[in-house]
């Protein structure tokens, strides 16, 4: 079965007919009506056979690992046809609401979208954690600790910011901020902690990986916004700088203004979420049961698969197969 873009395969045969007719009918309004009918019919019957499941993959290796492991299991064990779409995070919520994407297996939390689609509209269903504990923080390469053991905690950074000086930061140290798609409060945190850092954005994920790994190769001093789970942490040998403990009401979403004291704590550790489209969750497909149980044993497991894909250049489906075969007992628990 070929990928047919994002149109649900349930309407495959219908859209074929429509497509053939299209050459004759140019009147868009007429076709629009047919389109309505066909999308309407797609909402109907969902039997017990698995059929097609559409998983959405996001732009980081961990998400690739989730998607392909799930794909391997669903196709091998349930005979599903798994389609993978690559829609970026925020639009993927609407894609689930429209039933064009069935499931997302690693959501890092978008408070506004979650509130609107999951809590209020219930067009997207939250179905538990994928077993990973997501944690954002400030990271440095381990070699820095040899010279500056005090960098283990933020207090040790005080007065030593100029170690991280770059041509763009003048006398200050440079703090490299993260991908625009991630939650950040580093500007506020720097201010609240009274550190002499200049916050510099390095752009998207790929650009941050490029910049940081190049600086680390040169064994320069670098401090940046980063997270676990992430395959690169072991590969680049990163350590986290300890930030102040959390307190009640501590805010992780920067940019809202107000007193910076409310941000003066480390980022929360959050279980990463699995989300289903409401339609899929209620479809009774056997895939629903399996994906509800889909869970990594720990962060390291996903990092390993991520490393196979990115560093060892294993094709994602091969990497997934390798991991599933090595963890039969764990995967069998999803199938019970």
């Amino acid at each position: 079965m070929r990928k047919a873009g994002s149109v649900d395969n349930k309407e495959g045969s219908m859209s074929k007919k429509v497509g053939a007719r299209l050459t004759l009918l140019i009147g868009a309004s007429l076709v629009a009506v047919i389109g309505l009918v066909s999308s309407g019919s797609a909402l109907g019957g969902a039997g017990q056979s698995c059929g097609t499941v559409t998983l959405n993959e996001y732009g980081w290796p961990g998400s690739t690992a989730n998607t392909y492991v799930a794909k391997y299991v669903l196709e091998k064990n349930l005979g599903c046809t798994v389609k993978i779409t690559k829609i970026t995070e925020v639009p993927s919520y609407q894609a689930m609401a429209d039933g064009k994407v069935d499931a997302v297996l690693e959501d890092w939390g978008y408070p506004d979208q979650f509130k609107q689609y999951v809590t209020k509209q219930k067009t997207v269903a939250y179905v538990g954690s994928n077993g990973l504990l997501g944690h954002i923080g400030w990271f440095i390469p381990k070699y820095l600790l040899k010279q500056y053991p005090q960098f283990k905690t933020w207090k040790g950074l005080k007065g030593k910011e100029s170690v991280f000086k770059t041509p763009e930061s003048g006398s200050q140290g440079t703090f490299l901020g993260g991908d625009p798609s991630f939650q950040q409060k580093d500007k506020e945190l720097i201010e609240a902690l009274g550190l002499d850092f200049k916050h510099v954005t390095v752009g998207g994920y790929s650009a941050e990986v490029a910049r940081v790994s190049q600086l680390i190769k040169q064994r320069k001093a670098v401090i940046f916004y980063w997270w676990t789970p992430e395959y690169l942490n072991a590969y680049l040998n990163l350590v986290e700088v300890q930030l102040p403990p959390r307190f009640k009401g501590c805010n992780d979403v920067g940019g809202a203004g107000g007193d910076v004291k409310q941000y003066r704590c480390r980022y929360a550790s959050v279980p990463l979420k699995k989300l289903f489209s409401k339609e899929f969750a209620q479809s009774g497909s056997p895939a629903v049961k399996v994906l509800r149980k889909f869970k990594w044993p720990n962060n390291e497991a996903q990092n390993l698969v991520g490393k196979w894909i990115t560093v060892d250049k294993l094709k994602p489906d091969k990497a997934a197969e390798k991991w599933v075969k090595a963890n039969k007992a764990w995967v069998n628990a999803w199938l019970k």
């Binding site: 070929r2 873009g5 497509g19 690559k86 970026t88 639009p91 429209d98 978008y110 752009g203």
Partner: protein, 658 residues
């Protein structure tokens, strides 16, 4: 913001005093005053908060929330059903094209493309098309390439079916042209990242939504170039037809359209290029195909992302060369066909389609696959070669790195940083008055008023500081792009060899997705704004080259001859005659350069430039629609101001000469 604007014929009369001397001195004076103000009051006067309309982003967010709630409500309004119906129609169209390309089998598709190119475009077009299909096959990206080709066929077809009629109306009616120009400007300058969320809410995800967001960007060139073509028809020809008693409809269909056919086909060609530059962004909302190869390749296998980028470029160039060949062939000036030749052509058409039919039948009989077999590709080998190259780029101990890193540091420390500091820290009112005064000196009252209004709008939108950050980089990038563009453009005009090398280079830089070639620059120059500036310069300078080359080549030959007859050397002719006379084309180049630099602001933000680009990206990627749209409006305001200033300065210059 004209995609293709005529370079007006230059009258070879120069005033005694160079026009710019006075203006340059005055501008320098203004800048000096601004600098003094900066020295005196640095950081003391940021844009005042009470002049900011901070509630706007919130209102826009509320609108989005409302829209999503309405869209997903049980009792959904019929309006949404219409949007969804249209999206489904486009989804089906794309899928139909895709299935057709696969049904023909890879052999059939290749032969069909080649034969059609041969019949309507000629030998060169056929070679381009067959080479393109061969490269999709060898790179192991057949399936993805066909998906993208299907997407492009639908996007280009729909863009033209909207753009050409609008262009015809705009060509006939000045009022309509004036009304539609700002809309077209907005469609081209507002970054796609800003409108992807509303597009997804209205049209959902998938090929339909991808085509619609591509259309927003690809329609403007179709409208503009068609209007240009209609307007380019000589007035006396139209008058002659009217005086012979033709109705308005007859004049349009028998005179204006046939005579502007070549220009309109050039518009088709530009529409294709613009559409292809959206492949990666359209991938973010379900476009699939090569866009996915590029985006997911960027974080799992950069070598694969590069192959995907190359496939996009190859597709663009093949489509460009073949539509250009078709355009040249249908030029009415060369198309007085005899009855016998007409017959032969008709026969050739029949033979072409018979050939395609036969090939497909044979392919089916021999069981050719829909997709080029994976086992026969050179993908592994290519990936290894690309990876070797990437490893070299990523190695900080090479000679290249020892050059690029200090160069990057130099650009930051000596160009961007001082300018940035100056613009961000100077009192807002001196900057505002300063840019308006410079606009007044360079191009007149109206552009000065526009500039003042637009920069005020930026402040009111609450975007003053990020906008100044972006502005400083736009100025540096445009400066570098113009410098490189003028030098290469003049070289290309003087030497056909240079011109031949530059043309494909320009095409590659215009269509290769920026993220593909910019990530290697992050490795080579791991310093803040530099990769973004490199991206902007690489994207913008080809347009400058093209315009300057044309301007210099178009200098009236008799002027050049006269200069030579007076004993001027080649260098003197170039320096004293050709370049001064091509000044208009150079200004148009500056104008285009700025617009293109603004087009890369978001990509630049994604590789470390910060400023407005980062905010727009954040708008899409964190779902902060209001913030993203407000930042986009600031980019638009900056674009309008810079466009009007550079365009009007062309006009005032022209008047000065005449």
């Amino acid at each position: 913001m004209t995609t293709v604007a005529e370079v007006a014929p230059v009258t070879p009369v120069l005033s005694h005093r160079p026009w710019w001397r006075g203006k340059l001195v005055q501008t320098a004076g203004i800048v000096a005053l601004m600098y003094l103000a900066y020295r005196a009051w640095a950081l003391e006067y940021p844009w005042p908060q009470r002049l900011e309309w901070t509630a706007l982003a919130g209102h826009l967010d509320d609108f989005q929330t409302w829209l999503i709630d309405e869209k997903n409500a049980e009792d959904q309004s019929i309006v949404f059903a219409l949007f969804e119906g249209f999206a489904t129609f486009v989804d089906n169209l794309v899928n139909w094209f895709d299935r057709l390309l696969l049904w023909l089998t890879w052999v059939g598709t290749t032969v069909a493309g080649t034969l059609i190119a041969l019949r309507f475009g000629g030998m060169r077009a056929a070679v381009w098309v067959s080479a393109a299909f061969a490269s999709f096959a060898l790179m192991g990206l057949w399936e993805e390439s066909m998906q993208t080709l299907a997407l492009m066929l639908a996007a280009v077809g729909l863009s033209l079916s909207v753009g050409i009629p609008l262009g015809i109306v705009a060509g006939l009616s000045n009022r309509f042209m004036r009304a539609i120009t700002p809309v077209l400007d907005a469609m081209q300058i507002v970054p796609a990242f800003a409108y992807l969320i509303p597009v997804v809410v209205l049209f959902s995800v998938g090929p339909g939504a991808a085509v619609i967001s591509t259309m927003i960007y690809a329609i403007p060139p179709a409208v503009r170039i068609t209007a240009l073509g209609i307007r380019g028809v000589p007035v006396n020809t139209v008058e002659a037809a009217t005086s012979m008693g033709s109705t308005r409809g007859q004049v349009l269909s028998k005179v204006q359209l046939p005579l502007s056919r070549r220009t309109i086909l050039l518009g088709v060609n530009q529409t294709i290029m613009f559409a292809l530059s959206m492949v990666v962004i359209a991938g973010l909302i379900g476009g699939g195909g090569l866009g996915d190869v590029v985006t997911s390749g960027l974080y799992t296998n950069p070598a694969l992302a590069i192959l995907g980028g190359v496939a996009i470029v190859v597709m663009a160039m093949a489509l460009d060369r073949s539509t250009e060949a078709v355009a040249n062939r249908t030029d009415p000036a060369h198309r007085h066909l005899t009855e016998a030749r007409r017959k032969r052509l008709r026969l050739a058409t029949v033979a072409t389609f018979a050939g395609i039919g036969l090939t497909v039948a044979l392919a089916k009989v021999f069981g050719a696959a829909a997709i080029y077999p994976e086992t026969a590709t050179a993908q592994e080998w290519l990936l290894e070669k690309v990876q070797n190259w990437l490893d070299y780029v990523q190695d900080p101990t090479t000679f290249v790195f020892s050059v690029t890193e200090p160069l990057g540091t130099f650009i930051v420390v000596h160009l961007v940083q001082p300018l940035l500091q100056f613009l961000v820290e100077a009192p807002w009112f001196t900057t505002l008055l300063g840019v308006a005064a410079i606009a007044l000196i360079v191009s007149g009252v109206r552009p000065a008023v526009t500039t003042f209004a637009m920069f005020t709008a930026i402040g009111v939108l609450g975007m003053w500081e990020p906008a100044m950050e972006t502005f400083s980089q736009v100025l540096v990038a445009t400066g570098l792009a113009v410098l490189i563009g003028v030098a290469l453009g003049v070289a290309a005009a003087e030497s056909n060899a240079v011109s031949k090398v530059l043309r494909p280079t320009n095409d590659v830089l215009q269509t290769l997705p920026q993220l593909v070639y910019i990530i290697p620059f992050v490795y080579l120059m791991p310093i803040s704004y530099v990769p973004g500036i490199v991206a902007s310069v690489l994207y913008a300078f080809p347009a400058v080259v093209r315009l300057v080359e044309r301007g210099v080549r178009d200098v009236a030959p008799d002027t050049v001859e006269a200069a030579s007859a007076f004993g001027a050397t080649r260098r003197q002719v170039l320096g004293k005659v050709k370049i001064p006379l091509a000044g208009d084309a150079v200004m148009l180049g500056v104008n285009q350069g700025i617009i293109m630099v603004l087009g890369v602001v978001v990509i630049a933000g994604l590789v470390g430039s910060g400023g407005l680009g980062y905010l727009v990206a954040q708008g899409l990627q964190r779902g902060q629609f209001g913030l993203g749209l407000v930042a986009s409006l600031a980019i638009l305001a900056m674009g309008i101001a810079l466009d009007r200033v550079t365009q009007a300065s062309r006009r005032s210059r022209k008047e000065g000469i005449e």
